[in-house]
Symmetry: C2
Amino acid sequence: MKKTRKILLSEKEMPRQWYNILADMPNKPLPPLNPATREPIGPEALAAVFPMGLIKQEVATERYIDIPDEVLDLYKTYRPSPLFRAVNLEKALGTKSKIYYKYEGGNYSGSHKANTAIAQAYYNKEEGIKRITTETGAGQWGSAMSFACHHFGLELLVFMVRVSYDQKPGRKIMMKAYNAQVVASPSTMTAAGRKVLELDPESPGSLGIAISEAMEVAVQDPYTKYSLGSVLNHVILHQTIIGQEALLQMEKAGDYPDVVIGCFGGGSNFSGIAFPFLREKLLNDKNIRLLTVEPASCPKLTKGKFMYDFGDSAGMTPLLPMYTLGHNFIPEKIHAGGLRYHGAGVLVSQLLKDGFIEAKAKMQMECFEGGVLFARTEGILPAPESNYAIAGALDEARKADIEGVSRTILFNLSGHGHFDISAYEKYFEGNLPDHELTSSEVEEAISKIQLPD
Amino acid sequence: MKKTRKILLSEKEMPRQWYNILADMPNKPLPPLNPATREPIGPEALAAVFPMGLIKQEVATERYIDIPDEVLDLYKTYRPSPLFRAVNLEKALGTKSKIYYKYEGGNYSGSHKANTAIAQAYYNKEEGIKRITTETGAGQWGSAMSFACHHFGLELLVFMVRVSYDQKPGRKIMMKAYNAQVVASPSTMTAAGRKVLELDPESPGSLGIAISEAMEVAVQDPYTKYSLGSVLNHVILHQTIIGQEALLQMEKAGDYPDVVIGCFGGGSNFSGIAFPFLREKLLNDKNIRLLTVEPASCPKLTKGKFMYDFGDSAGMTPLLPMYTLGHNFIPEKIHAGGLRYHGAGVLVSQLLKDGFIEAKAKMQMECFEGGVLFARTEGILPAPESNYAIAGALDEARKADIEGVSRTILFNLSGHGHFDISAYEKYFEGNLPDHELTSSEVEEAISKIQLPD
């Protein structure tokens, strides 16, 4: 029997800087636009919503940005995170390839979201902000933010999508345990919420509505700011700690990946692991593939259109250049709630357009099959989102075996599935419908995109 | 701000031996007795239920027992486990004392149960056993055993107490994800189960009934054995890896505990962390206190009687010398399901009787208050069982502050509370009743103990 291998870094080896891919992109992304004037917006346009520390990171062009000491202190409670060689999974597959995974579910929040939650709470605290508002779907982001805010002495108000609030109480209670205020959205606290409730008092809510509510509360008070858990440049910057560590760990393992894989919602966990490897490709000609895996029911990267669109359903953000299915597109209710987002972040969109990364779409059922195989061999029960990365890794291993070669595969296991157990229940009941958005459905969705004149 | 400190061991520093306290006990425990003859039983009497490898450990007198390579290999996927200095908790308390905790919830199973599950599955596999039966209440033990059995190619049949099976589906589904067969107990699979169902078709079940069912299935087939997750000497032996590591980690921290604390159900997590420190007290005159914390509603150590009693409700085990509330005692349904056991293991019972360890009982509500304070300061949401250890640690810190001294406190954080979130929901609703078993209720319970003539 081969040994299961865990590759650890010491605290001293933990990277002290985040990596900013913007510095090394051959084609820089197009600027965000003011929806009314179609003129590029400057950083000051974001000041009502975000603290300056984060706005500076949003537009930063330096290659490396120092991680503040107080952020490092909290990172050190769970970082460096382990990187595993999945020898038992390899054995079960009978593959010649080597499969590695970086595990980001070992922290208090159970996912990679802690990496940016801690940083965002810190920069808000530094500027004297007293309260943060945010939205959450199933609650991974909300629970990551709850503890981070409490740690830095900030209040947190979370607008949780009503259907999740009612049906998935686990993370709601976790947020309360971390002292956050959690409100079902749509709520009567905001004009945006009241407007929805007037039309439909039984509205199940949506991430788009919850974002509108959280932003509305934030802009009304100078000591309250808003926080987002994916998509934006500064969020992705914070997640690069994952790939920075993984690079060192692969080196310790005496190996180097042929392909790096992440599941794809807004882009933060994929970019977090992949961008430091992409730097090695761009600067040092390292031959490597970077692969995103998205749900076939929400295929913005594989079937969406590259265009200016809003980041939120209500149209409160600037216009952003990205692959999108339309900001009002409502994805099927697959269990990987974190992947149910209509668009892709600006950085990933530009890099995909330029051919530096690849995208593929997978069905839900096959991803859960991969997740269960992973749990039975490697022990960790994965988050439904992470199952897409696993399925992508299994594809790569099987393809290599068919080609008769051995490849080195690295994927990001972004979180555990302890609060998503009902999705596994439905899997075992054979009650996980597959849904693939057809090209004509995509065309129809995109044709409905309405931008202001 | 002080830094949160994490004390890690490298894989090379991981202990390669379990520690057997029996070698160093001044008074050895009384022997187990045959209930019919009242004669001491030999190891062969256990052969229908356990494999010889584990029976040998049950009666072993050597001080150290080597951990087999295959067990070490699987341990290495999550061990050595981290030891933390709880600096943020200390700060919130404003205490002069230092509080450390060993975290055993970071593995696949979410609790210390993995340490013995892996070892037990291994020894069964080594002897050609094909299937294991066991019982589980809320499911921590069952899920730990499920993955371990699947890893070593064994089938697992889990009798899960009916009320948990219906009300707490999370760990049931986790066990299925690890490929175990899970049956609600009482079941129609066994004579014991059918007998209960005849009297009460709606029976909610009990741990005692589930044990009887699991043992009944095991003794009928030479390739099937039974497995228990606490109480027995070999189980406690496997858990000593916790304290063996913690000793090294406290040394790395340049510190030494004045008191070591664990919550108490059957004894395995407390003994696991405490016995290696007790060795230092017995052999090297180290001045240290060892404190168990049990629920006031199930106070076998603080109010129970030291006597021969059965380990299970149905009376299928040998008679064991232990502190007990009576093998038919049904504890209140507190949320720390793992602490709802009528008796204490033989080793802990003898050591308590001889004054080497201390015991105290705490109310549920205060323990959850401690657990929520811990979550908000240290980030990890504790298992309800672990909240008793936290409450014990908080008592020690507050007492030291009143006395005007600084003490070094170490406790075992035995698991996370991700699957126990409904207990926290009840806490926030103010719906966690306190219950203290009075001395007269204890007397009444003990007066009902019926042993065979």
